[in-house]
Amino acid sequence: MPTLNSTDISTALEQWADVIAARADAESLGLVGLISHGDVLARRLIAALEKRQVQARYGALDITLYRDDLDLRKERPALRSSYLPFSTDGMHLILVDDVLQSGRTARAALETIFEYGRPARVELHCLVDRKHRELPIQADYAAFTLESAEKVRVHLQENDGEDAVIY
């Protein structure tokens, strides 16, 4: 199985941070990670931005209650705590996710984020874009595009003990 290793991922995160630093409105930047991998990526990006003298607020969202498939599942997924300790009014928010595919998680995230205020601008960034979209949603930034992959699994040190993208 082809794999992106921890060096690939950290190089990608550095480039990603450069892109954010170049276009961010530093006054009101917030990185909101989607639980349970996007939040880890958001924290790493914020650390990388700090090295570039760019300050960003950190948030984490559990979008489970906004999913469109709750009734299709026999079991309801356990909930994790969202963490958004600031009003999103007027903020430049970047939603950070590990894998973007159907776009349904991103749709749910957009709905969730607007219940915390009215951001000035919202972008969608992801580590891996798999295409195969089911909704008219596109990433503003994707570190990797793996269009032909059958299956993509993202492992991150903080959650899974290693950094790897397996596809």
Binding site: T64, L65, Y66, D71, E75, R76, A78, Y116, G117
Partner: protein, 309 residues
């Protein structure tokens, strides 16, 4: 959590179920701090409250919980007198089935009625108190409140004070706390506290014994209205013997114990006025956490009315 249609008792839940519902309640409580205090998880679902016994708090707590999950709530009002016969409960079930409800929240003075309703309809049935049997949503909000206060329930000591024998709250709350590793003791009027050999719960006889046992939480049960001021149960005597008097409150304060009560509090019976102002009196936390716990229960149940496959 495994798919589960109803919540009738704490006994019927696995340890994993209990932990899942408590964990999700934490996330539910955070919804209260958003500018929009609502999530769409149960949008388009119908919730019915069916209370055969008067209740304001539990019913409104469930209604607020359902509203915050975006469900539609209907209140079914019943006169208590017409429903004592089992037959009329069955008639009611037929009515409810026709109304296509997804969740039914039932309180009844007879034990077992919510279970009967649950067996006969495909809606999720939540027991909101049946006789002296069970009150599982109260158990969850109590466990949630203690966990929020102390971080963990295991190893905590909780004494439940009052009419244990007739109390569904004592039954369900002591059970969930023991399942989560707390030590529980009962204290109350002699004939109203079952002996330890039947309950497996230690029995304390006086406040002196309570203070010696040094609980983290003192949980006072509500004295039923019909018992207050009856010649056999004068309120002032109860307060002096089993209530938190001002003198006892000073000792509770000195030891930093918490006070809990399922509400509504009879001031001057279970608790003196000053106890309600005490910094570790968790009664208001219980009310707020009740909404979060009930949201989590509603969210985790799977009604048979949803189509699968």
């Amino acid at each position: 959590m495994k798919p589960r249609k109803d919540l009738i008792t704490i006994e019927s839940l696995s340890d994993e179920d209990i932990h899942t519902i408590l964990d999700s309640a934490v996330a539910m409580k955070e919804i209260f701090t958003k500018s929009v205090k609502k999530v769409p998880a149960l949008k388009g679902k119908s919730v019915l409250t069916l209370f055969y016994e008067p209740s304001t708090r539990t019913r409104s707590s469930f209604e607020v919980a359902a509203h915050r999950l975006s469900a539609d709530v209907t209140t079914f009002t019943l006169s208590t007198s017409s429903v004592v016969k089992g037959e009329s409960v069955h008639d009611t079930i037929d009515t409810l089935m026709s109304m296509k409800m997804d969740y039914i929240i039932v309180r009844h003075k007879n034990s077992g009625i919510p279970a009967v309703i649950a067996r006969h309809c495909n809606a999720s049935v939540i027991n909101a108190g049946d006789g002296a049997h069970a009150h599982p949503s109260q158990a969850f909000l109590d466990a949630f409140t203690i966990r929020e206060k102390y971080g963990e329930i295991a190893g905590r000591r909780v004494v439940i004070v009052g009419d244990i024998l007739h109390s569904r709250v004592a039954r369900s709350t002591s059970l969930i706390l023991r399942r989560l590793g707390a030590q529980v003791a009962f204290m109350g009027p002699g004939s109203l506290v079952p002996p330890g050999e039947h309950t497996g719960v230690a029995r304390l006889h006086t406040w002196e014994e309570v203070f010696t046992w040094a609980p983290d939480v003192i949980y006072l049960l509500r004295v039923q209205n019909e018992r207050i001021e009856s010649p056999f149960f004068p309120a002032a005597d109860y307060h002096q013997t089993f209530g938190v008097t001002e003198e006892r409150l000073r000792r509770i304060e000195a030891q930093g114990m918490s006070i809990m009560h399922p509400g509504p509090v009879n001031r001057g019976v279970e608790l003196c006025d000053a106890a309600m102002e005490y910094e570790h009196c968790l009664v208001c936390n219980q009310v707020e956490n009740g909404i979060a716990a009930r949201m989590s229960i509603l969210y985790h149940l799977t009604p048979g009315t949803l189509s699968h496959d």
